[in-house]
């Protein structure tokens, strides 16, 4: 057992740190630090910078454009990104569909899509959930019927984050109406410009437009856009969900929030002194920091297992539950740190990243938006209730 990094790893850490200091655009950094929603332009600009360096896809194998890092290097990179307030690339392409394509796709699919993901030419979104199927994903109803070389897709997806920006959507569709729930599902890659696709915004409780409904009305999708075998889509979907859960602990991001909270506590006044002298408040912050440390070392233990070639079972569910709970407690405390200014939330001000009216301290714009937005963290990617079911079944055998 050994906690310390090797000299090579320390050198790598310095390299990453230096790169981020020099190359992360300040406007992108500022939005992320505040907890304000990104702009597509800023996100794409930043992703292109990462890609030029070859760091767009830390998890991808080298042959498809990954940097060939060890698990420890990936960990260091994630930590440094968080430390620098650098947003991660949009997950839908690089973390979700990308690995599905290079694991199960045809050569043609790999050659076409993977470079486009790395170079941010395609913005992807995820067509999993449907109005009737949330946590019970296998009950999905969107259907794809064969017609010559095409599928004809009909149905509806919901909670599609950032679909309004997307060029491509990866979708689970039912290709066999008579099979049992988890069989008869296929995995399709669909061009968002195909006639018959309509995107309708869902305004969130943070008053922002992140979510969408996506409607498919006789949408023609070439059969060659299917991943792997027909009716085996569930296998690829599960593979993808597994990937999603490992990246969900967001330790680096939460550390950044803790730091932000300490800054606010050093500024915000209470009873003639500073908030950092308020024992109740500081106790809550400290408790979160300790919990975060427990999460971090749990993640590191799992990392060390992966390095040794072991396979994880329900560990990602643990990371998801604890990680999202910490994220939510942090944003709740961020709002609390503002006192009465917690209520002063005007989404228009926040959306534009400005504060023309000049009300409230500058750091007050962001925490409430994030608090509201992150209520979804314990819902998406399989609700935390579902994650607990997974642990009780897979680990505890209950």
């Amino acid at each position: 057992m050994d906690l310390s990094f090797t000299d090579e790893e320390l050198a790598f850490q310095s390299e990453v740190r230096e790169f981020l200091e020099k190359n992360l655009p300040s406007d992108v950094k500022e939005r992320y630090r505040r907890g304000v929603h990104f702009t597509k332009e800023g996100q794409v600009r930043w992703q292109k910078i990462l890609n030029e360096k070859g760091w767009m896809a830390p998890n991808w194998p080298k042959e498809y454009g990954g940097p060939g890092w060890t698990a420890t290097q990936k960990y260091i990179f994630a930590q440094e990104m968080g430390r620098a307030s650098a947003p991660n690339p949009m997950p839908f392409g690089v973390s979700m569909v990308g690995p599905v394509i290079y694991t199960f796709g045809t050569d043609e699919q790999k050659n076409y899509y993977l470079p486009r993901i790395l170079n941010s030419e395609d913005w992807w979104c995820q067509g999993y959930s449907e109005p009737g199927s949330g946590s019970d994903l296998a009950s999905l109803k969107t259907r794809a019927d064969r017609d010559g070389d095409d599928y004809i897709v009909n149905g509806q997806k919901i909670w599609t984050s950032h679909a309004q920006h997307a060029d491509m959507i990866f979708c689970l569709v039912r290709t066999d109406q008579n099979a049992k729930a988890q069989e008869g599902i296929s995995f399709l890659l669909i061009d968002m410009k195909t006639p018959g696709i309509t995107v309708r915004p869902i305004i969130g409780l943070d008053k922002e437009h992140t979510l969408n409904e996506v409607f498919f009305d006789d949408v023609r999708v070439p059969i060659k856009n299917r991943i792997g075998e027909e009716n085996k889509g569930w296998t690829y979907a599960k593979f993808l969900l597994g990937n999603e859960r490992t990246s969900i602990a967001r330790v680096a991001q939460s550390k950044l929030r803790c730091e932000h909270l300490r800054e606010i506590a050093n500024t915000e006044k209470v009873n003639g002194g500073l908030l950092n002298e308020d024992r109740d408040f500081m106790r809550k912050l400290t408790q979160i920091e300790v919990d975060l440390m427990a999460l971090e070392y749990t993640e590191l233990r799992m990392l060390s297992k992966i390095e040794k070639g072991e396979t994880l079972t329900a560990e990602p569910s643990l990371l998801k539950i604890k990680g999202t709970e910490i994220q939510q407690r942090l944003t709740e405390l961020l709002v609390e740190s503002l006192g009465m200014y917690g209520a002063a939330y005007d989404s228009l001000e926040v959306r534009e990243g400005r504060n023309d009216l000049n009300f409230a301290p500058d750091y007050a714009h962001g925490p409430m938006a994030e608090h509201l937005y992150l209520k979804a963290a314990s819902i998406y990617g399989g609700s935390n209730e579902i994650q607990r079911n997974i642990i009780s079944k897979m680990v505890l055998g209950l």
Partner: protein
């Protein structure tokens, strides 16, 4: 001992319930919250005609002589519908301050017009550094001839942008945090030197930051004795906290009913999700929290009607702390149990969550009131 409502009180409750039923569908409320004003002047007129705006005032000042229990009844029903009209700002804060501290002339000038729905008020008490401490007042008022000159900035003044008159706390003497030396002034919305910046708040209401730059008010606008406002502010705010507790109780009850119904209808894995034990237990915890909150809210209203003493003050803080905790839990879990639906602006449950979130923080969050409770013991 009697926790049941009298016949008149039942009638009052029915009438507010009916108003909410008729005017506050989730769609109506959402639309209203998105207008520039943020509430409806027509609704305000109706509330005046129904006699609600005078309910909280004694007969001596021209009101209908209701007490904290009547206020509790109204606020609980309004909480169910997340009513947006400035009842708390105008009646329970501004109006009560005038009624408690005002001269016969000030009362005569403001209260009847308020009861008729003509005059709206706001109470500017908080400042950026004051957090929840009502005595942390840095805005100053200095005597100059027959006038007072006000300087300073007040933060998050609910309905500060739409009020006709703003009641403002300012320091006429003493050091920061001193209870002694705080005074109240009535300031007209168009007074020279007043800079009002209005914005939307997260709970669908409107607030303003208000800057006073050499705002000159006649000495006749001093409300109560100079430097002696702190106990009056504390009393009026405590009564308002009692009312906000009742509002939270109404909002929690409605939130739980909506969520309970959702658990019965939303199907996953072939059954209504309410069949899953983990969700049943969660819903039970939410129900228990709402019931305990109702008990605390009723208790505090009855205590405030007996006398405003330390016992009542402790009751206020106990209720606010308990209800604040419950409000957060129920608000957050209601969203969680709705899954994605809970995350949308269009569906009502998120609006309950947001109002409950601000109710926890208004006039002191759970920590603040636990400390106050302990300091009063």
């Amino acid at each position: 001992m009697d926790f049941e409502l009298s016949e008149e009180q039942v009638l009052l409750k029915d009438s507010v319930d009916r108003f909410v039923q008729d005017n506050y569908s989730p769609e109506d409320r959402l639309k209203l919250s998105q207008t520039e004003l943020g509430f409806s002047r027509d609704h305000w007129k109706t509330m005046a005609e129904l006699g609600w705006l005078g309910m909280a005032f004694s007969e001596e000042v021209g009101g209908f002589g209701g007490g904290a229990v009547e206020v509790m009844i109204m606020m609980e029903s309004m909480g169910r519908g997340l009513v947006l009209e400035p009842f708390v700002s105008t009646v329970l804060l501004g109006g009560k301050l005038v009624a408690e501290a005002g001269s016969a002339e000030q009362i005569e000038q403001i209260i009847p017009s308020l009861i008729e729905g003509e005059t709206m008020l706001a109470f500017a008490y908080a400042e950026a550094q004051s957090r929840f401490n009502l005595n942390d007042v840095q805005t100053t008022a200095s005597k100059s001839g027959d006038n007072y000159i006000l300087n300073g900035t007040k933060a998050v003044v609910y309905h500060g942008g739409t009020a006709d008159k703003i009641i403002v706390s300012a320091r006429t003497s003493g050091d920061a945090l001193d209870a002694e030396g705080i005074s109240l002034f009535i300031v007209d919305k168009d007074a020279a030197g007043l800079d009002i910046r209005s914005y939307a708040t997260v709970d669908g209401q409107r607030a303003a930051d208000i800057r006073f730059e050499n705002v000159s008010v006649p000495a006749a606008n001093l409300l109560g004795a100079e430097g002696k406002a702190a106990p009056i502010i504390e009393k009026v705010v405590d009564q308002a906290i009692g009312a906000l507790c009742a509002e939270a109780v109404g909002a929690m009850a409605a939130s739980n009913e909506i969520t309970n119904e959702y658990l019965k209808t939303r199907k996953q894995f072939g059954v209504p999700i309410g069949k899953f034990q983990v969700l049943q237990h969660r819903m039970v915890d939410m129900y228990m929290d709402a019931e305990q909150s109702k008990s605390m809210s009723d208790m505090v209203a009855m205590k405030l009607d007996i006398d405003y003493n330390d016992d009542a003050r402790k009751a206020v803080s106990a209720a606010k702390a308990q209800i604040g905790k419950a409000a957060k839990f129920i608000g957050q879990q209601s969203v969680q149990l709705h899954g994605g639906m809970g995350m949308t602006d269009e569906y009502s449950i998120g609006h309950y969550f947001k109002r409950l979130t601000t109710l926890e923080m208004l006039f002191g969050n759970t920590d603040y009131h636990l400390n106050r409770f302990s300091s009063l013991s």
